[in-house]
């Protein structure tokens, strides 16, 4: 008998306590309610959750908030998710999607030990930012890659590694999401996010040296010397010459590949293309000899 009353009292008192607490909590929750747009969670669920900062925001959640707030996605884009993710988000929010050409990071330097002779030895902290602030680098080229891997360190997607033979970073096209972390990390601005062609075809000037031709070539045998040859041969006016340096505008380039064999220093890289025909190869070689 005693036993059962104890149980009953316990149940009743706890239920009362619970009910009172529920009422108090209900009013507190009403009083301090923070309204959050439920669409933010839906948008965030679509984003890649890499929190890489490639969109310019601190993380995916911040981008989701901005996307929900914005009228027309102006300037907002997730480079990692690309057009697919943006289309999904647009359908969640019932707005028109934005599309951008997919991009991929490329390194505008080929100065390996073989091509770019070392003139001094650096034994300080292994950081490109520090080496760059201290002096012009181990070679005569004051524009090229240091190779201490600041870019590798910041890459969240494991798309960069230092090639142990050339000492230069290599981009894994499959893993690169064009988040742009390497572009920001490189103290010499050697990375560029370029249009990603079908089949990962690439054609670009892999040099950033703005010195005059003679100086550039003396310090690196694969430097762009600003000779204008590629500029003259390009039928689409896609090549811009600035500060003794050629640049291929990927919006105008149609991948005709006429420029690459013209380059006397092989500063223009082409990858992902089928091998050139025999004949074309020969003319390219003779061009190089005459140059």
């Amino acid at each position: 008998m005693m036993m059962s009353t104890t149980i009953i009292y316990t149940i009743v008192s706890l239920s009362l306590l619970g009910a009172v607490a529920a009422v108090v909590l209900y009013f507190v929750a009403q009083r301090f309610k923070v309204y959050e747009d439920p669409r933010i969670d839906l948008v965030e669920a679509e984003l890649p959750a890499a929190n890489c900062g490639g969109c310019g925001f601190a993380g995916c959640r911040n981008l989701a908030v901005a996307l929900v707030k914005s009228e027309n996605f102006d300037g907002l884009y997730c480079p990692v998710g690309g057009n697919d993710v943006m289309a999904k988000i647009a359908s969640v929010l019932g707005r028109e999607t934005v599309t951008r050409d997919p991009r991929v990071a490329v390194l505008k330097c080929q100065g390996s030990c073989e091509f770019r002779p070392r003139t001094s030895k650096y034994d300080g902290a292994a950081s490109c930012a520090i080496a760059s602030a201290l002096y012009s680098g181990e070679t005569g080229c004051t524009y090229g890659c240091h190779g201490y891997g600041d870019c590798v360190e910041v890459c969240t997607f494991d798309a960069l590694r230092i090639d142990l033979i050339t000492g230069l970073p290599v981009v894994d096209d499959q893993k690169c999401t064009s988040c742009g972390a390497c572009v920001k990390a490189c103290p010499r601005n050697l990375f560029e996010l370029r249009k990603r062609w079908k089949g990962d075809k690439k054609i670009y000037v892999a040099c950033s040296n703005e010195d005059k031709g003679g100086v550039a070539r003396k310090n690196c045998s694969v430097a762009c010397i600003g000779c204008n040859k590629c500029f003259k041969v390009c039928p689409f006016e896609a090549i811009i010459m600035k500060n003794n340096l050629a640049y291929i505008d990927s919006d105008k380039c149609r991948l005709c590949r006429k420029c690459a064999p013209e380059c006397p220093t092989h500063a223009i890289i082409e990858t992902g293309f089928p091998a050139r025909k025999e004949k074309a190869q020969e003319t390219a070689d003779t061009n190089n000899v005459t140059a």
């Binding site: 902290a125 520090i130 004051t142």
Partner: protein, 444 residues
């Protein structure tokens, strides 16, 4: 009890190999490359063209920025080309190449070595002359002297501090200058006193230069209002803030200038240049450079024309030995290793040091053991062990709160670290990033 600054400081081996040696004038080289940026501020604006004939002392570029100074031809001859030359950092900068023909100076420059005690020009006229002569701080910071002499409104200079400390190991250029040109320096001090309208000047000299202290003290008695102080040897006493603290006991506030505590400080080399500019009409075209090193045959002090390539200086002391690890422009603590011996001497070059490779190799970096030695030696009371990871991770607001901008880059922390951590390298990186943020904030 000798005076010194209280907080922090270190005692690196002095190695003053060229101490007490006379200043030898180095023969004028065949060509010189005169950089257009030899001061803190923006490069000077070029006034001459290729092919023009110039005389020694002729103005070839005008400093137009706030922290810029005039540049003069240091030799006479023809301007061969206006091209780029590597500066101390290895980056290419604009320079004027002059092919030397004879040594013809401008007519109004007095080349005699007669001591001229009488100071004719008045205050503003003195500052004008110093501006024209392109004088910058010869201690290494290359801060234009005329800017220091123009005291901002609302502030008042009460005394002049002259820096004869030369706390960097190996370097002896200021020491040699004080022994040979003591009277000229004292007249220079009087000129600066007149320009600043102050009555008292303090000259600080570290106690390892007893001969210089003796000479200066003896001669200073015949000049009014100049006191020579012997200071306890401690690095970095040659830092402006440390020297002011040691002599006057005043502390320059964080982010402030010496004039905030009523002091204006000059290096003895600068004071000598001021003497020559005001009394002899001679612009800054040459300076004393120590060329030294443990394996150097004959460590010496040279009077060198600005723009002379470093290789000629090395040749003058008997050439570089096989086992040279680094060529350092400046002293071993704050100097910079250079990548090429063709770099020209600039106004801020106080020494060329050839370090043997056994001493230059860096040891591998070990983890921080929290011994706080870096904190105890920091003359500014900063916490280098903390600043380094903050800079490494790019936490710039915390760096600013921790007063990273107060760092004078003396290198005491890196010198003393038992784990051989590159503290200063990272702090410098943090400083440059925080500096950029502060500047962009000011613009807004």
């Amino acid at each position: 009890m000798l005076k010194t600054f209280q907080r922090g400081g270190i005692h690196p081996p002095e190695n003053k190999l060229s101490a007490g040696k006379a200043i030898i004038p180095l023969p004028v080289p065949g060509t010189v490359a005169i950089l257009l940026s030899q001061h803190m501020g923006a490069p000077a604006k070029l006034l001459v063209e290729k092919g023009a004939d110039v005389k020694t002392g002729q103005l070839i570029a005008k400093g137009e920025g706030f922290l810029s100074g005039n540049i003069h031809a240091s030799v006479s001859g023809k301007i061969a080309r206006i091209d780029e030359v590597q500066d101390v950092s290895g980056y290419r900068r604009q320079a004027v190449y002059i092919e030397v023909a004879g040594d013809e100076w401008l007519e109004d420059i007095k080349l005699d070595s007669v001591l001229d005690r009488e100071i004719k020009p008045e205050g503003p006229e003195i500052i004008q002359k110093i501006t024209e002569a392109g004088i910058v701080g010869l201690g290494g910071a290359t801060f234009p002297s005329h800017v220091k002499l123009t005291v901002p409104r609302g502030k008042k200079a009460e005394c002049l501090v002259v820096n004869g400390v030369e706390c960097e190991p190996y370097l002896t250029s200021d020491h040699a200058l004080m022994l040979e040109k003591a009277e000229e320096i004292l007249v220079g001090v009087q000129i600066l006193k007149k320009a600043l309208n102050v009555n008292i000047a303090h000259i600080g000299i570290e106690n390892n230069k007893t001969d210089a202290i003796e000479v200066m003290q003896r001669l200073a008695t015949s000049y009014e209002g100049i006191r020579v102080h012997a200071l306890k040897v401690k690095y970095p006493q040659g830092g402006e803030k440390q020297l002011i603290k040691a002599i006057t006991g005043r502390e320059v506030p964080s982010g402030g200038l010496p004039v905030d505590v009523g002091v204006v400080a000059f290096n003895v080399g600068t004071v000598f240049a001021v003497y020559e500019a005001v009394q002899k009409n001679k612009p800054l075209v040459e300076r004393v450079v120590t060329v030294t090193g443990k394996n150097v045959n004959n460590p010496s002090n040279f009077r060198v024309r600005i723009g002379t390539p470093v290789s000629l200086l090395i040749e003058a002391v008997g050439g570089m030995t096989e086992n040279t690890g680094k060529i350092i422009m400046g002293g071993p603590m704050m100097g910079k290793a250079i990548g090429s011996a063709e770099i020209p001497v600039v106004k801020g070059t106080s020494g060329i040091l050839l370090m043997p490779d056994t001493e230059t190799a860096r040891s591998s970096i070990q983890p921080c053991i929290r011994c706080a030695k870096c904190v105890s030696v920091c003359p500014l009371g900063l916490e280098p062990y903390l600043l380094m990871p903050l800079a490494e991770m790019g936490i710039h607001d915390s760096l600013e709160q921790e007063h990273v901008m107060d760092c004078i880059e003396c290198g005491s922390c890196s010198f003393t670290c038992p784990s051989d951590r590159p503290l200063l390298d990272y702090i410098r990186l943090g400083k440059s990033n925080v500096g950029k943020i502060i500047r962009s904030r000011k613009k807004q």
